[in-house]
Symmetry: C2
Subunit: 123 residues, 2 copies
């Protein structure tokens, strides 16, 4: 099993990469057959190709992120983070709670994001 | 499907009841065959009887709780809350991130608590 310190680092790297990386760099943090359910309740995406496509929406906007709270348990982590997105005509902020599982190399094997439209704020 | 407002209320009620209710009152918030995995990575408990026994540890200590952050998505919620427990010789605080699913009556059908010993603080 992957240790807690490695999981914590993987969470920090994910949040930092969402803030300043490309969709390809974000997708590289996931295992090949990882699943992504964002928001929870939507149809999960499967596989790194679909996951890179999902994050491609971030490639054309300026994003900054900040990790708030992380809890590691077993091979999983839950964490609160803030994402601020700057588009041509507005700035929006959201603080999802994400749950992830990790493989032995601390690659993300699943991600589920808890948030809804009521959590999207003008920043 | 249960609506988001009912889920939010159910989370508030759970946190309040952990703070001031009995184990029987907490267990009553769960559906009959609910599962509880606390912390994540441990063997899940199944059913309201086992769940009441789990919370019975709280019946002999003074506990206070505070809800910090709630995110509702689909039939699920993730939330950060603070639990302060006062025993004969010490006061400890922990802020887990819990994930719950709910049935149509907003009863808890599953609970998973993300925390580990490193998150337990002297308060």
């Amino acid at each position: 099993m992957v240790d807690a310190a490695k999981i914590r680092l993987a969470v920090e790297r994910y949040v930092a990469t969402v803030g300043s990386g490309t969709s390809a760099e974000i997708a590289a943090l996931f295992s090949e057959h990882a699943t992504l359910e964002d928001p929870v309740g939507s149809e999960p995406l499967v596989g790194r190709v679909a996951i890179e496509k999902f994050y491609a929406a971030l490639d054309s906007v300026k994003t900054s992120t900040e990790l708030r709270t992380v809890r590691v348990a077993g091979d999983s982590a839950a964490f609160v983070f803030r994402v601020v997105t700057v588009t041509a005509d507005k700035v929006i902020a959201i603080e999802p709670i994400d749950v992830m599982t990790f493989d032995a190399d601390a690659r993300i094997t699943s991600m589920r994001a808890f948030w809804s439209v009521v959590d999207v704020q003008a920043a």
